[in-house]
């Protein structure tokens, strides 16, 4: 065991792990100073996570599996933990034998793992032991017994048509209790998701969510694409976060290849990430107002969003920043004119955004609708591991830009808005604060964007490397974890979008509210269906 490579911040945690669990740890691996892998048996997982959480306030960010049978004869189960204060990640890697393909659920102790563990079960056929609700989740009931992310499942497999029983929704009974099914096809241009409301009159007693209607097999597809092409696939994981997802993927590849994007490229990446944040936040602020029928504010927000999108097109050739990200940096450099345009944009938008916020704050009827609506208690948010905007409105004091500075975020001053109230109004307020913060970040970066190239060369990827790429997208933290295979391919690409983590919180936030308030509560979370189901 050699902890020399571990970054100084993370070292106390690594030493503590070695001290406490040393005799049960089979191997250590430190591919990068802030990324430590601990190889141990499954039984260690519960105690390991619990200890790190209590002692070091480490949070579990993802649980996923990897089919390692061709290389090592076993499946690997990964528990990814983020030590925000130590700016590092700790992974517990536990082998699962193909002869007894099962693993112990931690969902009873950590409710945040509910969907993730079931996704592992559906995709890899590793049976859950001790899960409170081990039904199908990521793959619907109409899927036959196949495990798409196993290596022996061919990409072009054609599945037989549906047979058997349809999904049984949970029944809620009582006098005057009705169930109102909404979706999966909705009015307006949104993605499919099923919401089953159990209501007594207007108040909601229970909301059952059923997601995963848009399974595209993206993670499987990544294993069949050369990395430069896979960047384009990463862009389409969630259309409103295309730059963030693509950048997270590039970040993972760069870390695997031990190449860093040049400073200028990192600056441009940060600017693009902030532009993505601004246009989405502004659109959401408007959409929240529409859902309470305050259309005037919505129209102003759309006007501001349009200005940002036009600027994006000037800067990257695409209104939604598509095609800008690439391995090793960014595709296009900016000339002085484009940087001046960036400055002009923030100078123009700042006062207009202020007056939009003033318009909303000044409308007492709007405030009345937003305040105390859809409260997500900080304790519930913590239990469910809610991240991003929704988390920060409920006391979640984390932001990858501050805690794990990627791109050029180490060059700028960032303050993270955190509130405890957890209602729609405060999710709106987090957005307002973050837009202002983004203006400031864009200005800081535009003022001193380093000179130099915008792209580093990345040769063929060495096989057998693992790496975690991370980006704070506008919705929350995005992780791409990869393992490389021979021949410049990926053996596995695990994508973690914040939506997957946050959807269950919606069921909690709506409890006790009335049905007509659901759209605005839902909009205040604004989660991605596509990012949930890759």
């Amino acid at each position: 065991m050699n902890l020399d490579r571990v970054s100084p911040d993370l070292r106390p945690i690594a030493e503590d792990i070695a001290r406490r669990f040393g005799n049960r740890i089979d191997a250590w691996d430190t591919p990068r100073p802030n990324e430590v892998y601990v190889h141990a048996s499954m039984d260690l997982a519960a105690g390991f996570c619990a200890h790190l959480h209590r002692r070091w306030n480490v949070r579990l960010i993802a649980v996923f599996a990897d089919d390692f049978r061709n290389e090592g004869g076993v499946f690997h189960l990964y528990y990814a933990l983020a030590a925000d204060a130590a700016h590092g990640f700790v992974f517990l890697r536990a082998p699962v034998s193909p002869d007894t393909p099962q693993f112990t659920s931690l969902a009873n102790a950590i409710p945040a793992l509910n969907w993730q563990e079931r996704e592992v079960q559906d995709m890899f056929g590793l049976k859950l032991v001790g899960h409170p609700n081990p039904r199908r989740c990521a793959l619907h009931d109409d899927w036959p017994e196949v495990y798409p992310l196993r290596k022996d499942f061919g990409l072009h497999t054609v599945l037989p048509p549906f047979q058997g029983e349809r999904h049984k929704f949970r029944q809620v009974e009582g006098e005057g209790v009705f169930q109102v099914p909404v979706g999966p096809v909705h009015a307006g241009i949104i993605e499919p998701g099923h919401f089953l409301f159990s209501v007594a009159g207007e108040p909601v007693l229970y909301l059952q969510l059923r997601m995963f209607y848009v399974h595209k097999g993206a993670e499987k597809l990544f294993e069949h694409l050369p990395p430069p092409h896979a960047v384009r696939l990463a862009e389409s994981i969630s259309g409103d976060s295309s730059f963030a997802h693509a950048t997270a993927f590039c970040h993972a590849i760069e870390r695997a290849a031990n190449v860093e994007a040049p400073p200028r490229a990192r600056g441009i990446r940060s600017v693009c990430l902030e532009l993505e944040r601004i246009y989405n936040h502004v659109a959401d602020i408007g959409a929240i107002c529409t859902d309470v029928a305050f259309v005037t504010a919505h129209m102003h927000a759309m006007r501001l969003k349009e200005a940002v999108l036009c600027a994006c097109e000037e800067l990257t050739g695409s209104r939604l920043l598509r095609g800008m990200a690439c391995l090793g940096g960014v595709r296009f450099d900016w000339d002085a004119g484009q940087i001046a345009l960036l400055r002009a944009l923030t100078a123009r938008l700042r006062p207009e955004f202020d007056s939009l916020v003033e318009l909303i704050d000044g409308s007492s009827s709007t405030r009345d609708r937003l305040e105390t609506t859809g409260i997500l208690q900080p304790k519930v948010a913590r239990d469910l591991g809610v991240v991003g905007i929704a988390g920060r409105a409920s006391g979640f004091d984390h932001d990858l830009r501050r805690d794990f500075p990627h791109a050029a975020y180490d060059q700028v001053k960032i303050s993270v808005p955190v509130y405890q109230a957890g209602d729609v109004k405060h999710r709106l307020q987090v957005r307002v604060d973050e837009v202002r913060e983004s203006f400031s970040i864009v200005e800081q970066l535009a003022a001193r964007l380093p000179a130099g190239p915008v792209r580093s060369e990345i040769g063929e990827l060495p096989a057998g490397r693992v790496a975690l790429g991370y980006v704070e997208g506008w919705r929350g933290e995005i992780f791409h974890w990869i393992r490389t295979a021979p021949g410049n391919r990926l053996a596995r690409c695990k994508i973690k979008d914040p939506s997957l983590q946050n959807w269950p919180a919606l069921s909690e936030a709506i409890l006790g509210n009335i049905v007509p308030d659901f759209p605005v509560v839902n909009k205040s979370f604004n989660l991605s269906y596509s990012g949930t189901d890759r």
């Binding site: 009015a187 859902d291 309470v292 305050f294 259309v295 005037t296 009345d368 609708r369």
Partner: protein, 315 residues
């Protein structure tokens, strides 16, 4: 009083033509006020014409009520419209009923509208119907009470008679009873025509809808009747406000063409002013929480009660 066929025909046509135009004008002005270009005022006509041409999709479980409701909604609104003086006193059907018949006809239309929403047994229709009935249970008494305030002065519940009394020089337009009753009916107008802050006519969110939720299963011709009926009802309520409360320019029974033309111009001007008020309210307000709508309507009821009270106090 004789039934004047020409007058009857004229008012029917006016109701049918003016109602969609008014809805379209509100939509168009609202867009202008929100910095949008918006639809042209006559877009509402084109929509109705389009719906009339389209095929209908009838829900599998719908009974005769579903088919019957659009006609009742449309005709009850139209009949109610013929009892309100639009251009000339008396109204063409004033013989057949006054304020009570008007409120009754509107209630009949609403009853069938709610049944039509419930009948196909879709989740949203039922929610819409239940909300509509909750809202109208408070809106209706407020409307009645406010009308009675004027009826007491006129000594009759006949709307034409009420307009005539209000028109007479003896009556003071700034009478507190009058103003309070007007305010009460204005709030009822917002509720009954599904306007912000009670309902949002432009939303696509089924979960928040009241009026639109009941229409979700309707399509084609039936939808055209429903929409047209709703806009006629809106015109009727607006006419009630502008002609019974401010019968300025309203022509008498024996008016010539010139007086009628003047009456039409005055009527249009008053309607547009009222539209402008509705547009301003809709643009500057968010929708109320559903459970606060009764508070607003109770306020209308209290205003109407105060109007009635001040009628006796300041007489």
């Amino acid at each position: 009083m004789n039934l004047d066929p020409i007058h009857l025909l004229l008012q029917t046509l006016l109701l049918l033509a003016l109602a969609p135009l008014l809805s379209g004008t509100i939509r168009s002005w609202k867009a202008k006020l929100q910095n949008r270009r918006g639809p042209r005022p006559w877009q509402a006509f084109l929509d109705i014409a389009k719906f009339l041409r389209k095929d209908m999709v009838i829900p599998e479980h719908a009974s005769w009520i579903f088919h019957f409701a659009p006609y009742v909604v449309f005709l009850s609104a139209l009949l109610a419209g013929l009892m309100v003086p639009m251009l000339r006193i008396p109204a063409p059907l004033s013989l057949f009923g006054g304020a009570l018949a008007l409120v009754g006809l509107l209630a009949l239309g609403r009853f069938f509208l709610a049944l039509g929403g419930l009948d196909p047994a879709s989740a949203f229709g039922g929610m819409g119907s239940s909300r509509e009935m909750t809202v109208s249970a408070i809106a209706e008494p407020a409307l009645m009470l406010a009308i009675f305030t004027v009826a007491i002065t006129a000594g009759s519940t006949d709307l034409s008679q009420m307009a005539r009394t209000t028109q007479s020089t003896a009556f003071n337009l700034l009478n507190p009873a009058h103003v309070l009753a007007f305010a009460a009916i204005f709030i009822v107008l917002l509720a009954e025509t599904g306007r912000i802050p009670v309902d949002n006519p432009a939303t696509h969110l089924e979960l928040t809808m009241i009026h639109e939720a009941m229409l979700l299963e309707y399509s084609g011709r039936y939808l055209a009747y429903m929409e047209w009926g709703a806009s006629v009802k809106q015109l009727v309520l607006m006419t009630l406000l502008v002609n019974v409360f401010f019968p300025v320019g309203l022509a008498g029974a024996d008016a010539g063409p010139l007086a009628l033309a003047f009456s039409l111009a005055a009527y249009a001007a008053k309607l547009l002013a009222l539209c402008a008020a509705v547009v301003v309210v809709e643009t500057t307000n968010a929708k109320l929480r559903l459970f606060r709508v009764p508070d607003l309507l109770s306020a209308a009821f209290v205003l109407a009660a105060l109007a009635l009270l001040s009628m006796f106090l300041f007489r």
